[in-house]
Amino acid sequence: MIISGTLVAASVASISIFGFKQGIDFVGGALWQIKVSATKEDLQSALPGAIITSQPATGSFILRTSELKENEHQELLAAFKEKFGEVEELRFETIGPSIGNELREKSVRAFIYVLLSISLYIAFVFRKVSRPVSSWKYGLITLITLFHDALIPLGTFSVLGYLLNVEIDAIFVVAILVVLGFSVHDTIVVFDRIREKLKLQKSGNYDFDALVNQGVNETIVRSINTSLTLVLVLVAMFFLGAASLQYFILTILIGVMVGTYSSIFVASPLLTLWRRL
């Protein structure tokens, strides 16, 4: 709980201070990946306004600029060819600001819908459990836990954006939504075990806290194992997979680990805490 509190506070602080570096698909702009025999400095002096990162894996550079019209793109390409000789275009993307706004809005809406529908679903499947904590509270706790799970990767990327110019884009939002969908799994396993234990209690005299604690202890191995299988796959993808997916995978990796931890150290304590209130 203390660790969570610190991480959440740090994430909120980072997001409010640093904000996010938003990708071109949210704010509009151009991304141009080229292979050229020039140094980063050469390119920077040729195009002062661009943010340039080198991609050692493909021996290329990624240049980010404001939106480029097709004729501007061609002029730039011609100018580069004149200056640096052969230029191989690996990728060129340009997105107008209107499409960017729309995508951003859609992403935020999708995020909210996923949060709400998962929480409602949990409240629904636990509807028969009403004592000592009613089912809508399971839903609400899921909501809080999910929010926690999304907030920490968001905070991480806010810091990464500040330090390394890492941008959040549509695919980042996808990663966050996947995290939401997955991190709830462990919470479900724990809650399900608690539900089963509650059903077995015949008399009204039992210690709810101890029961929750037991439930967590009995399921902790499988919570870790289910996440571990996914972590194995993610680690392989992070180190061996396509460079363009690296941050996408990293987001899910952080989210999955936070999600496992939070089902044990956030969701279950919240359940016992709530009953005392």
Partner: protein, 408 residues
């Protein structure tokens, strides 16, 4: 059904699926894999149509017409399976174009976005030898045309196209029809003949009707093309993504290697941690991979980088149901009941968690699917299909395997 029978059917299905999936076997003959632009290289273009000069009732027709115009232009480049789609989003009308594997995207872009050129042409002479008509410009172009629409002639029960010219156009049209009675008058769009009706009489007033053996759809398509050439609806390229073929190939290879490495790691973990049970889940996972790929192919899903990533993730998730079942079975065995009963209990008791977990993933992938577009959408779809198939493989297949091979 007996578990042996189920197992036999599953194996049969898997072998058939494998033949369908692998390019070296039947794969390429029956239905080749469709790879996305991010893997084979290509261009994804979004054009926004400026509808400010078009009245509300004509907008849909203009959009459809422009789509056809653009598709014709794309076809000139001889690209395999070009996709030209329309999309309405709030107040904006867009045309999305996907061109796979094109080398000089610039040329295509320059050509596709031009304003449609509509022109009426009259007969210059008839080439008897080649039996074709040589056309010459009549001076009447799209800018004189006000609009076209489909009307219905109730007397002969046929749809026809009414066209309306502005006042200058009406005068020109009167002269042209006057000198071409009983001769064809051709309509060219982007220098391509789209229709050549015969002039029956001199037409005064600028309202004409093209009639013929049109089906409703043909009439609509022709009216749309005329509108696209007549109405002032310029298109602007608002987004383009061009991916070089080499980058795509690199991404495909490295993602497949990563996916394979990750899957092997998961398999090793399962075999070491759960021993005999684990080995059954590894078999079920192999079946899962083959069946899921067959479904992807069966629904002609376009595989994108994100889609493959989604599939690889689903491998990591598919095994989770087995973890839950095995953990539960172990617990039951500890209680001292027989192995087979313990397995049965394990499946039964783990089911609610498995169901709920999978449903939450289904919820998020469905929402994702509806809120995204392009490359990312493939991810949502592959995750969705993966989760559904995994319910089958992790439960039905693993259970059949365990019940067939585990003795008390």
């Amino acid at each position: 059904m007996k578990s042996r029978t189920i197992l036999f059917l599953v194996i049969l299905l898997t072998v058939a699926a494998a033949a369908f999936v692998l390019p070296q076997w039947l794969g390429n003959k029956v239905l080749p894999w469709r790879l996305g632009l991010d893997l084979i290289g290509g261009s994804h273009l979004i054009y926004e149509v400026d509808m400010s000069g078009v009245s509300a009732s004509d907008k849909d027709s203009v959009l459809a017409g422009l789509r056809d115009v653009m598709e014709r232009r794309v076809n000139v480049f001889g690209i395999s399976e070009p996709q030209v789609l329309t999309a309405k989003s709030g107040d904006s009308y867009r045309i999305l174009i996907e061109l796979a594997g094109i080398k000089n995207a610039q040329e295509a872009i320059a050509h596709i976005g031009k304003t449609a050129q509509l022109e009426f042409r009259e007969v210059e002479k008839i080439d008897e030898a080649e039996q074709k008509i040589i056309w010459k410009s009549s001076g009447l172009t799209g800018k004189y045309l006000k609009r076209a629409q489909v009307t219905f002639d109730s007397q002969i029960a046929q749809p026809e196209i009414s066209i309306e010219f502005n006042s200058d156009g009406a005068k020109l049209f009167e002269e042209i029809t006057g000198r071409n009675i009983e001769k064809p008058l051709a309509i060219f769009l982007d220098n391509e003949l789209i229709s050549s009706p015969i002039v029956r009489q001199k037409i005064i007033g600028g309202n004409a009707v093209i009639s013929g053996q049109f089906s409703g759809d043909e009439a609509k398509a022709l009216a749309s093309l005329l509108n696209a050439g007549a109405l002032p609806a310029p298109v602007n390229l608002v987004s383009q993504q061009v991916i070089g073929a080499s980058l795509g190939e690199n991404s495909l290879n490295s993602t497949m290697i990563a996916g394979l490495a990750g899957t092997i790691a998961v398999m090793l973990f399962m075999a070491f941690y759960y021993r005999k049970f684990g080995i059954f889940s590894v078999l079920a996972l192999v079946i899962y991979v083959i069946l899921t790929l067959a479904v992807f192919k069966g629904v002609t899903m376009t595989m994108t980088l994100a889609g493959i990533a989604g599939f690889v993730l689903s491998i990591g998730m598919a095994i989770d149901a087995n973890v839950l079942i095995f953990e539960r079975t172990k617990e039951e065995i500890k209680k001292g009941i027989s192995k087979l009963t313990a397995i049965e209990e394990g499946f039964k008791r783990a089911w609610p968690s498995i169901r709920d977990s999978n449903i939450t993933t289904i919820i998020s992938s469905v929402i994702l699917y509806y809120f995204t577009s392009g490359f990312v959408r493939g991810f949502a779809l592959s995750l969705l299909i993966g989760v559904i198939v995994s319910m089958f493989s992790a439960i039905t297949v693993t259970r059949a395997l365990l019940k067939t091979f585990v003795k008390n």
